[in-house]
Symmetry: C2
Subunit: 319 residues, 2 copies
């Protein structure tokens, strides 16, 4: 029996922080880390490593938006087998904040970018690589990328230092055929790179797409406990842990995390399959308009919302 | 461009009635029918055609559990293009209650059974067929059926009068490979029958599985608006309407139905991706134990619940 080569990257704190402005207590993060560690989850993405100097409103966000190594050492005094990951965005990271890996709590640094910024992202990747980190490049919004741009990006990526290249379904608009198409394309053009996938659940396809990517050879699988993540959220960690064949994951500790942390949190914060997010997914759009709607009294008026998105006049007005 | 041959069978009232004991007002059902009609949905399963004489507790259930043609004529005085369907269970239907189709509001009668009762189900099917109805045979709990039983059932079905044979994932435990396997098997053994699929959402795979079945040639696709159905619920009608390629469905009226009927109803009644149902789906079990748990104060204690289901002693005790 061949063991499954996949690795789960739990993004509950990082992507979930987009829901609650990273307002997780230290105890919450510690309990989550302990649970993921017991479950055998491979990576925990514990936040962003962006610089507060380069972002507006930084003082209102929780500490997981601007990870600091001294702080992290207090949060997780004893690391288990679950590695720690952080995400950075192009133009929001100060390279001087990044220690050498041997002095850092972090193992993996991931760089998220749109396809037009792959060159800048790869410069950052090189820096992190030189400091000893595992690296990934997460290309967002692939459903809105034309073939020629993607081929150009592949040319830069294949000669770069990056370890893993991610297929990111930012708008939750891809189905299993789209995923199979992208995986095949990435494999053909980047035969020397491992692949990852980050799915969103706008069309209730996040788990299915992740499963299909995994079966096609994608190794790093992003997920979050109870699907917590911006808007429609992500592929649920508990489903990967429970359903991936030929793995040694353990569901039981994830169930405890859900009961203890996620059910109470979901009472206060909102994410998941909610109709305005379904609409933006169906229309292959960023969920920002739906997020704005959900913050108003008209939050369930998805019919009118759909009409607005479908109206060309309003689309022009938006721009 | 080849048009998609699929037909959506909306089961909101019939399967959703298992959630609220069929406590839908006449106005609710009328509004739903009008919306499905505008959306171009092919069938509305408006309830069960079981006999109240053959069921305990019948007087406490809403009228959609025991459909009566005189009543139906008042509910839907003017039929649109959406056909009406009813489900019957083996041993719970009185054949004397069933009018000839030309005197009835119903177009389609579906017979649900376990594989061991296929012979009895086919006798009922013959009766409905002789009275002029379209018919389906819905074989439940296929994930728990051995190959030899299934082959035996196929032998009976292929010479029967039934129009459509359903693959029913009663426990919501099947993934895309299982669905592809079953569709291929059904197609091979029943080349003269059209196929249907009824999925449950325990593992967030109902929509994905239905899409994959449809692409493999399955024609009748069961769904319900906002996924309403027992336990984890069904494939959401709005996702099929929105995502099936080469069809003429219209999403907008379904969004209105969700806003007007389903969002308020979901405040009072519970269905969908809820962890104890994920657990029974993952373990390929009937959701009844999870439904019992959800009715108690311990409804979110899914860790303990999982331990009980995994313990062989308790399993023996249950039987």
């Amino acid at each position: 029996m061949k063991m499954n080569q996949c690795k789960i990257v739990d993004c509950t704190i990082r992507d979930g922080g987009l829901v609650n402005n990273w307002d997780f207590s230290v105890e919450f993060v510690q309990t989550l880390y302990a649970g993921l560690n017991k479950a055998g989850v491979d990576y925990m993405e514990i936040g962003y490593k962006n610089s507060p100097k380069l972002l507006k409103g930084a003082d209102q966000a929780g500490p997981w938006r601007f990870l600091d190594d001294d702080f992290l050492r207090k949060v997780i005094p004893q690391k288990g087998t679950t590695k720690l990951s952080a995400l950075v965005d192009i133009g929001r990271v100060d390279e001087n904040d990044i220690l050498d890996r041997k002095e850092s709590m972090l193992d993996l640094i991931r760089v998220a970018c749109y396809v037009k910024d792959v060159d800048k992202a790869l410069q950052l990747v090189q820096t992190f690589h030189d400091r000893g980190y595992e690296t990934t490049l997460n290309i967002m919004a692939l459903s809105n990328v034309m073939e020629n741009e993607l081929i150009e990006a592949f040319e830069m990526i294949k000669d770069s230092a990056v370890d893993v290249v991610y297929i990111v379904d930012s708008y939750g608009s891809l189905d299993h055929k789209d995923i199979a198409f992208l995986v095949e394309k990435f494999q053909k053009h980047l035969p020397n790179k491992r692949l990852g996938v980050h799915a969103h659940n706008n069309l209730q396809l996040a788990f299915s797409n992740t499963l299909i990517a995994s079966e096609a050879g994608v190794e790093l699988l992003d997920a979050s406990v109870y699907g917590m993540g911006r808007a429609a959220g992500n592929c649920p960690t508990e489903l990967l842990v429970s359903q991936l064949k030929n793995t040694t994951y353990n569901l039981r500790p994830v169930l405890d995390v859900i009961e203890q942390l996620m059910i109470p949190l979901r009472e206060k914060e909102e994410w998941g399959y909610i109709i305005p997010y379904m609409v933006t997914g169906a229309l292959d759009e960023h969920p920002r308009s739906a997020m704005a709607l959900r913050a108003t009294e008209d939050k369930d008026k998805s019919g009118e919302f759909y009409d607005k998105l479908m109206s060309p006049e309003v689309t022009i007005e938006k721009k």
